[in-house]
Structure formats: structure tokens, C-alpha cells
């Protein structure tokens, strides 16, 4: 008996396989950190493996057709459409390399305004950490609780962030920023601290990563009294493996 090749089953298996590979590839290449909070990586990785297993099961049906029940299902989209959408996204997701958010995004989300600090409650109170060990987000959380900049004058600071050039700021000021994540990139919001340079900010390109050591002071930037870093050293560093802070 001549059997026609079961294309629908083959496409199902292919779609499952590619979705699984897409997720697992982000894990293998370390790009999962760009998309998700590390607490949830295991969920995504598990889903990737599960999709691969389902692909295997579906692929096995190509070789021998098992006895199956007619399972009732009400389809809203024609099967071909949904398959086409899934396949297209998986192929794209396998090719495309997701990039962390940039300074444009941070500016569009209003990072330069000091009122837009953070919406999350501080989960850990950083006052007890020595100032030079506080991360950028620790500083911002501290400022949220106690916003008076003078309280931090002359405290040592050592942070890493990416460079933003806010358009209204003078040329010797830049913003050292990071995105904060609670779940996935969908809820990322930017935080940053102004840095007063001795030279022109053109030396540090927007979106390049820098490590800044120095001391805190209070200054007026764009008409606002703010906590500002006076750096001793601004060193270019490579993009950290996990660009976000938590």
C-alpha cells in the first residue's frame, strides 16, 4: 500500500524542534540573561527540553503511526496559520541575537528625571553595606528611602554601568545607568547616577560600559539638586555577562 508522506506531522515535529532549539540556544549562548531574570532560567530551559521531547515523540509518528483516539479540539485558527506563525518565529528566534536595552530606551523611559527612581520596594536595605560595595541599584534604593543627597557626601563609590548622554545636560556630565529586572525584559526599567567628568563626555561613547570609582557629592544638574559621582577613575570595561541588576 502506498502511503503519502504525512506532511502535517512533519511540520508539527519541526515546529516543536525549532522552538525547543530557540530557547536552548539562548541558554547555550548565554543570551538568556538578556531576556529573563536568572531565577526563571530553569523554567525556560525546562520548557526547551520538553519541547524537544515532544518533537521526538511527534517525529516518531513519522516512522510508525500509533493507534490514537480522536481527541476533540475546537480550533480557532486554521492549523496551517498557527503552524506558519510558530515556524516563522522559531526560525527568526534562532537567527536573531537579542541585545540588551540601550541608552535610547533608557532616555525614552525618562531616566534623566530624578523623580523616576524606582517603583519597586527595596528588597534589601543597603545602608549596612559599606558604600564602596554598593551596586548602582543599591544606591538608587537607598536614595528612594532617604533622598537627601548631602547625606552621602564624600562616601566612596565603585559602580559599573553603561554610558548615557542625556541631551539637556552639559558636556562634562554623563549618566551611568543599568536596567533593573524583576521578571523578564518586559518589566526592565532604567536607573542611573550622574557623573561629573573632568573632560568631555565624548570620550565615552553612549552604550559603552564603564567602571567608575570616586566619591559622592551634591550638584545641580539640569536645574535639579542631585547626588553626583565625582570620579577618580573611569575605566572602559566589557559588557557584563548579565547586563541587568536585580
Amino acid at each position: 500500500m502506498k502511503r503519502t508522506f504525512p506532511w502535517p506531522i512533519a511540520f508539527d515535529a519541526l515546529a516543536l524542534l525549532l522552538w525547543g532549539l530557540m530557547i536552548l540556544r539562548y541558554w547555550w549562548t548565554g543570551r538568556l540573561a538578556v531576556l529573563l531574570h536568572p531565577d526563571y532560567h530553569w523554567l525556560a530551559i525546562g520548557a526547551g527540553w520538553l519541547l524537544l521531547l515532544m518533537a521526538l515523540w511527534r517525529g516518531a509518528a513519522l516512522l510508525w503511526s500509533p493507534k490514537s483516539l480522536n481527541t476533540p479540539h475546537i480550533a480557532l485558527l486554521p492549523r496551517r496559520w498557527s503552524l506558519a506563525v510558530l515556524l516563522a518565529v522559531a526560525v527568526f528566534g534562532i537567527i536573531y541575537i537579542p541585545r540588551p536595552f540601550t541608552s535610547d530606551t533608557a532616555l525614552a523611559r525618562g531616566i534623566a528625571e530624578p523623580v523616576a527612581l524606582t517603583r519597586s520596594q527595596p528588597r534589601r536595605f543597603a545602608r549596612n553595606t559599606p558604600p564602596e560595595e554598593r551596586s548602582l541599584i543599591d544606591w538608587i534604593r537607598l536614595l528612594n528611602v532617604y533622598p537627601e543627597p548631602d547625606a552621602y557626601t564624600d562616601e566612596p563609590v565603585n559602580i559599573t554601568g553603561f554610558v548615557i548622554h542625556p541631551p539637556n545636560w552639559p558636556d562634562d556630565y554623563l549618566l551611568a545607568a543599568r536596567f533593573v529586572l524583576t521578571c523578564c525584559a518586559a518589566d526592565a526599567y532604567p536607573v542611573g547616577l550622574p557623573v561629573q567628568l573632568s573632560g568631555d563626555r565624548g570620550e565615552f561613547a553612549p552604550d559603552s560600559w564603564v567602571n567608575i570609582t570616586g566619591t559622592m557629592m551634591t550638584d545641580t544638574v539640569d536645574g535639579q539638586r542631585r547626588l553626583v559621582i565625582q570620579p577618580q577613575d573611569v575605566l572602559p570595561v566589557p559588557e557584563p555577562k548579565n547586563p541587568y541588576e536585580f
Binding site: 508539527d12 515546529a15 516543536l16 522552538w19 530557547i23 539562548y26 538568556l32 538578556v34 531576556l35 529573563l36 526563571y40 523554567l43 525556560a44 525546562g46 520548557a47 519541547l51 515532544m54 515523540w57 511527534r58 500509533p66 493507534k67 490514537s68 483516539l69 480522536n70 481527541t71 476533540p72 479540539h73 475546537i74 480550533a75 480557532l76 485558527l77 486554521p78 492549523r79 496559520w81 498557527s82 503552524l83 506563525v85 510558530l86 518565529v89 528566534g93 536573531y96 537579542p98 541585545r99 540588551p100 536595552f101 540601550t102 535610547d104 530606551t105 523611559r109 525618562g110 517603583r119 519597586s120 520596594q121 524583576t182 521578571c183 523578564c184 525584559a185 518586559a186 518589566d187 526599567y189
Partner: protein, 348 residues
């Protein structure tokens, strides 16, 4: 030069949109898989006729029972219409069926977990979401229970089936092998007619050959079907969320999202249009959480799973359009009023 800058800006926006899109997909996929796995397993294992026999006759209690049934049938809004329909066919009180219909997509363990993961900074969102869903479902179920005879609200084919007071001769329909001679309502699909009102668990009990391998095969088959379809809806929903975030000027969204009334209306409209599955809608909502009022995010999470563009076509397979309009209007009004109260009278 200027156009180069514009191009660079557009590219950066495009990249941002893609990162958002992929992050929503990758975060939501595990929950979608869990949701379809559970709903497929339960469709095979649980026979809802036994539950119907146990439910209280008092309409309020039946409504509460119905809205808590979701914990036993963790189905999203595509799976719950057929189940609600089977409940009605098996003589369940209307309060039970309506309560289940509205609450089941939200009141289930997977949705709790997904909402908690998404709103880790605002754990109260989970409780508000579940509490408000149960409250609204019970109210609407009680309203519908005043209509003792639901038949005028149902599609004629189903209303006719409700006429005989005695329960369906179950085995006769299940074992008859001619699809032309069996009673019931079918939805014509490319894969052949689908009988809507028969519990799959009944098929399983009847088939002597339903061994574990066959059952597992059926579960996987259903998982795949649901994943294929809901995955495609998830892709479109994520694309819409990412586009709205990136393409619409921030000032507009801010203006809309900060008003206590406009924000709720906007999010309810979005919930209705996007039709994203309830196991993953909290991730969608999350991308708006920093700009929109908490009440409006809650409105999205409560209203979306009850009635949206996608499940209206499903509801119409069971209810007459008049009843669907009642359901829609009641659910929309109650969601609006309660979430507005949340916006105005709580500091949350």
C-alpha cells in the same frame, strides 16, 4: 547625517522591540506548556458528571462551587467553554456552569504561579486578581440563576437536548460507531466533526483498549493541538505588546495610563482585543505595569480571561448572542466598577 541618526534610532527601537518580544515569549512558554499539559491531562482523567452530582443546589453555593472548579480543571479560556457546556448538558445548575465559565481560566494553580512570578514586587496582585474574579463570577452566576430555565439563552440545538429531564443515555452515544446517527452538537473542523458535549474521560472509560500508552498518546496529542494554537495567539499577543511599548509615543501612553478611568478602559479594551491565554497574560500586563495604574492592570487580568475576542466565537457555539451580550456587559461593568474603586479608594 540626520537621516543616519534617524536610522540608528529606528534600529535601536526595533532591537528593543525584538528583545521585548522574545523575552515575553521565552518567559511565557513554560507556563503555556504547563497549562496545556494540565488541561489535557484533566480532560482525559476527570469525568465532570461525578462533580455535577456532588454540587449544592443553592444558587449562591453552586456559583461559588463553580468558580472554584477551576482548581480542578486548570484550563484557559479556550478549554473552559466546552467544559461549561458539558456541565450544562449534564444537568448542572446554571449558576454552577456560569460561575465555572467565568472563573475557571483565572482560578487555577498555574495562573496563580504565573501571576506571582510576573508580579513578584506586588504579590497582592495575585490575591486581588483571584478574589475579584471569584466575586464577579459569583455575582454574574447568581444573576443568571434567577432565570430558572436557561433554554431561551442557549443555542437551539443545546436547548433541545436539555428538554428530556432524564440524563443522557451515555454509553449509547459513546459506543455508536456511525457518526451520522449520534445525537449531539458538532463543530465542523478540518480534522472531522468534533463532538462538543461529551467528556473525553467517558470515551476513555468506554474504550476497553484505552491503555496507558493510548491515554498518554491522547494527552500528548491534545497538548500539541493546544500548544500550536495558543502558541500562535501568544506570538501575536507578544508582538502587539512589544509594538505598543516601542512604537507609541511615551507621552500618549503616560497620559492614558495615569488617568484612573482612561487607564482601566484602555487596558480592558486591550484585554479584549489581544485575547492572550490566561496562563501567560500576566507577563503581557507586566510590560505595562510601570506606566498604568494598578487598578487598570487588575482590570486587564480579571476581564481578559472572562470574555475576549477569541472566546466570543466559542461562547456563541453554546449561548445565543443575547446571552453572550449579557455576559459581556455584566462582566465589563463589574470589572470597571470594582477596579475603579481599587484605583480611587486604595493606595495600592
Amino acid at each position: 547625517m540626520l537621516s543616519l541618526f534617524a536610522l540608528a534610532g529606528a534600529m535601536s527601537q526595533f532591537n528593543q522591540g525584538l528583545t521585548l518580544f522574545l523575552s515575553l515569549l521565552v518567559e511565557a512558554t513554560p507556563f503555556l506548556l504547563l497549562g496545556v499539559a494540565f488541561s489535557s491531562l484533566l480532560a482525559i482523567l476527570v469525568d465532570e458528571r461525578k462533580l455535577v452530582a456532588l454540587t449544592p443546589k443553592n444558587p449562591v453555593l453552586a456559583a461559588i462551587a463553580g468558580s472554584l472548579f477551576g482548581c480542578l480543571f486548570p484550563v484557559c479560556e479556550c478549554g473552559n467553554v466546552p467544559v461549561a457546556r458539558r456541565l450544562l448538558m449534564q444537568g448542572a445548575p446554571s449558576a454552577l456552569a456560569i460561575g465555572f465559565l467565568l472563573a475557571a481560566p483565572t482560578v487555577n494553580p498555574i495562573v496563580f504561579w504565573a501571576t506571582w512570578v510576573a508580579f513578584r514586587d506586588q504579590p497582592s496582585m495575585v490575591f486581588w486578581r483571584v478574589g475579584l474574579t471569584i466575586l464577579i463570577s459569583v455575582i454574574i452566576a447568581c444573576v443568571f440563576s434567577v432565570q430558572k430555565d436557561l433554554r431561551p439563552f442557549l443555542q437551539p440545538a443545546i436547548a433541545r437536548q436539555l428538554l428530556p429531564p432524564e440524563p443522557e443515555p451515555a454509553l449509547a452515544t459513546a459506543t455508536s460507531d456511525s457518526p451520522l446517527l449520534t445525537r449531539g452538537t458538532y463543530l465542523l473542523q478540518s480534522t472531522g466533526p468534533v463532538k462538543l458535549d461529551q467528556p473525553l474521560a467517558m470515551d476513555m472509560a468506554v474504550l476497553p483498549s484505552a491503555t496507558w500508552t493510548v491515554k498518554a498518546q491522547a494527552v500528548l496529542e491534545m497538548m500539541l493541538q493546544e500548544f500550536r494554537e495558543l502558541g500562535a495567539v501568544l506570538v501575536m499577543g507578544s508582538a502587539i505588546a512589544a509594538t505598543v511599548q516601542v512604537a507609541i509615543p511615551r507621552e500618549w501612553i503616560l497620559a492614558l495610563g495615569q488617568g484612573p478611568i482612561t487607564s482601566i478602559l484602555a487596558m480592558m479594551l486591550l484585554a479584549w482585543v489581544v485575547s492572550i491565554c490566561s496562563t501567560v497574560d500576566s507577563f503581557f500586563a507586566l510590560s505595562f505595569a510601570s506606566i498604568f495604574t494598578s487598578g487598570s492592570i487588575l482590570a486587564f487580568l480579571v476581564f481578559g480571561p472572562m470574555i475576549d475576542l477569541k472566546n466570543i466565537s466559542l461562547l456563541l457555539t453554546t449561548f445565543k448572542s443575547r446571552a453572550v451580550i449579557y455576559l459581556f456587559v455584566l462582566a465589563a461593568q463589574l470589572t470597571f466598577v470594582f477596579t475603579l474603586a481599587v484605583n480611587l479608594y486604595t493606595s495600592w
